[in-house]
Symmetry: C2
Subunit: 278 residues, 2 copies
């Protein structure tokens, strides 16, 4: 499997504190060493860095750290390959143009028996299940709407195609068009929002401490989405299986809580629908 990291904010923010902890999991504190990628939105544009070397050791990773890029939306991924070779074309995040926007997508999971995209308008370049699923999603959305619809319709359509794709396996993902960020949980996805009053946080992966008061100002809202929490003294929300969350300007716009995996009396693993709040 892999790990995901996303950031959605209302003010351009650097992701160095989170990314430096996250990339230690690529060879130092965990074994997600099969390449990494990180995409920064800058307006409608995307600056993307990818390497097939482990993020913790990559000079490209060092460049990201030094460059101190500030962005409203960032998606990063460290890979532990399940399908597809350890090559650049199989390195997340994947990017496709949809309705004249860059859409950036990173996946954690494993999907099987996806529809064949040969001969379709959106075709995968590499050999991962992840890119194939994203291409299916892109083609689905473009065929459903030839021009960008309102957000409510986008979210509903993304949910619909996700429900279809999730039938093919484990489908945790983070998706952004540079305005909003969507997280979908199949097995593991957590989020938190940092806003005033700001406090300190200690990274799980190397004990490093930050005081956000030194960096943030009143009114700033910064949401972090990650496969597993990155700090030990902040309150992370663990998403449930099938959960969807939509952030914009660092704020939660909508959430579908999803299904809690529960141990049923007979010892089997059952599903319990929690609720749907928006």
């Amino acid at each position: 499997m892999c790990q995901l990291l996303g950031m959605n904010c209302n003010t351009p923010t650097d992701i160095v504190f989170s990314f430096e902890g996250f990339r230690r999991r690529a060879g130092l504190t965990d074994s997600h060493s099969d390449g990494f990628g990180i995409a920064f939105f800058e307006g409608k544009g995307v600056r993307v860095f990818r390497d097939n070397r482990p993020a913790s050791l990559s000079p490209i990773g060092d460049c990201v750290k030094q460059y101190d890029i500030k962005s409203l939306n960032v998606i990063a991924h460290i890979r532990k390959a399940t399908q597809g070779s350890v090559d650049i074309e199989n390195t997340h995040p994947f990017i496709r143009e949809i309705w004249g926007e860059n859409w950036v997508f990173a996946h954690n999971g494993n999907l099987h028996d996806l529809p064949d995209m040969t001969g379709r308008f959106c075709q995968p370049i590499g050999s991962t299940d992840s890119e194939a699923a994203f291409c299916y999603m892109a083609e689905f959305l473009k065929r459903r709407f030839s021009r960008k619809p309102v957000e409510q319709e986008i979210f509903a359509a993304v949910q619909e195609v996700t429900e279809f794709l999730a039938q093919h396996g484990t489908f945790n993902f983070i998706l952004s068009n540079g305005e909003w960020m969507i997280g979908h949980c199949a097995t593991n996805l957590h989020y938190l929002t940092r806003q005033a009053p700001f406090g300190k946080a200690q990274r799980i992966d190397d004990e490093s401490v930050i005081d956000f008061n030194d960096y943030a100002k009143d009114g700033d809202k910064v949401t972090i989405i990650a496969t597993f929490p990155l700090t030990k003294d902040e309150k992370w929300t663990k998403m449930l299986s099938g959960g969807f969350v939509f952030f914009k300007n660092g704020e939660k716009v909508k959430e579908i809580i999803g299904v809690e995996k529960a141990i049923i009396d007979d010892g089997t693993l059952g599903d319990r629908i929690v609720n749907d709040c928006s």
Copy 2:
């Protein structure tokens, strides 16, 4: 206008010598300071670096130099903006997926009254004429062939769509799918192929000298395509208006020589078709 640089080889080669001269033209030896981009193919994948700062001063440019990436196909662009703001989304090279491949495109020129791509499958993200033209090309090719055809058909289709787009203004470009590289000249494009026996070359932009014998081995073939020559003691071929050239593995596969602009007896500027060789 802008300047273009492309490299097509039969062995993974670093482009640092050429790129270091080229990027001096972004603020030091010339005024192409409105951002830059460079894309390196690695197999079917692409590693791309973009900055809206001048290439000569950019830390991203320094990172490219330090990282010493070797590639069979590279396309770089330094921008002097004519249409579109100095933002990442307007920074060449542009990338689109066509038939399950990354296609990388950089343009030098100015196009007007291009077909409106609103509502089409391939839409521009930024506001440049260049990206709009590339989207038109991508949609044209995908609609003509749902699966990748043989190279001869690809080249013929690219020529056909280029003839249409070139009616809209000045259309110098370099295009690659990671296997081959196409150069099209409207006003300025030059190329040369380095192969045994290798010699020395001196960069035009800073007098720096390289001896390719120290880096290349017998059998290596490295073609460089550039808006203007980068070295002063090598024989660059100046392409003619309407000229097309197709390289693969560092070798010229096909060339359409194009049209030489000639002064006609009556003093007007006329076109003289030179020939068509393949």
